[in-house]
């Protein structure tokens, strides 16, 4: 189902002359300025930064006869507001780069591998903690530092996680690596409510637990 283009956007993109365009831009801003400002605020560490970015977003959206906004109608899937947030967020990243000559922390492609690697390690530790890996092991085989996963257990857990469906791997990543609440995760993985996420999560962790038991981390 293709959602209709919002009225304010259609009027803006179809405005026949400058005066109409100005009026349509005001109407567009009346509808979306709060959303754009909030997006800028959440991508910024200070109020001054947020205002700079907000202004930058508005300039960029107006550029080349609203070239960026016209891209929405080119596809037409999804909600305009969700699309607009992503476009605005990426403009914030561009703004940061143009101002400081480098991407914002958390947006850098360089060194991302080591960051991703560390996050992955952390993810495995968190999952292991959730499914009580220590409780699964013989006392005699416990790692001297019970807080950390042994290399062998890490490998077993990595393999077990990799066997899960993409959606379930994403669920674990969003919940444990990104620490996003179940309520916010629901729409991100196509579930209706936080209750369904809650249930899915328990199911996935139970699945992992069973896999680990099957692979020799026996309970007795």
């Amino acid at each position: 189902m293709t959602p209709p283009v919002p009225r304010q956007l259609a009027e803006l993109l179809n405005a026949p002359h400058a005066a109409a365009r100005n009026g349509a831009w005001d109407a567009f801003m009346g509808e979306y300025s709060k959303l754009l400002l909030r997006t800028a605020q959440r991508a910024s560490s200070s109020r001054d930064d947020a205002m700079d970015r907000y202004i930058f977003i508005l300039e960029q959206l107006q550029e080349d006869d609203f070239r960026r906004l016209r891209a929405f109608t080119a596809d037409g899937r999804g909600k305009f507001t969700t699309w607009l947030v992503v476009v605005a967020r990426r403009l914030c990243v561009d703004h940061h780069r143009s101002k400081y000559g480098r991407p914002q922390a958390g947006h850098e492609p360089t060194g991302a591998n080591s960051v991703a690697h560390a996050a992955r390690r952390n993810l495995l530790d968190l999952i292991a903690n959730e499914i009580d890996v220590d409780g699964l092991e013989d006392e005699g085989s416990l790692h001297p530092d019970a807080e950390l996963l042994s290399a062998e257990r890490r490998q077993t857990l990595t393999a077990a996680v990799a066997e899960l469906g993409l959606g379930d791997q994403l669920l674990l990543t969003l919940r444990f690596e990104d620490d996003i609440s179940v309520e916010k995760i629901a729409p991100m993985i196509g579930l209706q409510s936080r209750f369904q996420v809650h249930r899915r999560l328990r199911h996935v962790l139970e699945q992992l637990r069973r896999k680990l038991i099957d692979r020799g981390m026996t309970e007795s």
Partner: protein, 203 residues
């Protein structure tokens, strides 16, 4: 080129810099993607924190009014008003905050307190069903919410006590799962919550 070679170069899915297009993120959130696209999106999200943050922000900021609709169904006006204060309070405050994104539960501005029983996932008998939680102090008002599996509010009740028995007229179905949580209304329009617990009604 790997198996994803074709998808990686698909301009509908990926930008020139190799990230998900805003169109694809919006379509994915609107569940208007094909099976292949969904797979490509999820595969990318697994390894790209930047796009996960974009997705989280688009999902949260771009979904206007969803919570309000969810609350509006089948609630007495007074309870709905209290619930709206509890649930919308943190979100409204958040709007003026410079809160960094992705701090999870804490980012919602809602503190936690402990639910005592039934324990999460417990199988419970209808005739002895009592919900209990830790006190959050004197003069605190609590609001218990019971929902069905879809998150639709089934029953809600307020109390200043730290327990509530389920009245018999609330007809829970045996063999069904329900979810419950308690919100505490604290001083200064603050609130805290137990978070969601699941129960299964014994057949």
């Amino acid at each position: 080129m790997n198996d994803n070679g074709q998808q990686l170069s698909d301009p509908m899915v990926f930008t020139e810099t190799g990230h998900l297009t805003p169109e694809m993120i919006a379509a994915y959130l609107g569940q208007e993607v094909s099976g292949e696209e969904r797979q490509a999106v999820q595969q990318h999200l697994l390894t790209c924190k930047e796009c996960r943050v974009d997705l989280a922000e688009a999902s949260e900021l771009g979904a206007v009014g969803r919570r309000v609709r969810w609350l509006a169904v089948g609630l007495p006006a007074a309870a709905a008003a209290v619930l709206a204060v509890v649930l919308l309070g943190p979100a409204t405050r958040d709007a003026t905050d410079d809160t960094p994104v992705l701090r999870g539960e804490q980012a919602e501005g809602t503190a936690r307190f402990k639910a005592v029983s039934p324990v999460d996932g417990a199988e419970v008998s209808l005739d002895s069903l009592v919900f209990r939680w830790r006190s959050e102090g004197t003069g605190v008002h609590y609001l218990l919410t019971l929902t069905d599996e879809n998150g639709d509010v089934f029953w809600t009740a307020g109390t200043s006590d730290t327990s509530l028995a389920l009245p018999l007229e609330v007809g829970l179905a045996t063999g069904q799962r329900y979810f419950w949580y308690v919100d505490a209304l604290l001083e200064g329009a603050r609130s805290s919550t137990t978070g969601v617990r699941e129960i299964l009604i014994q057949p």
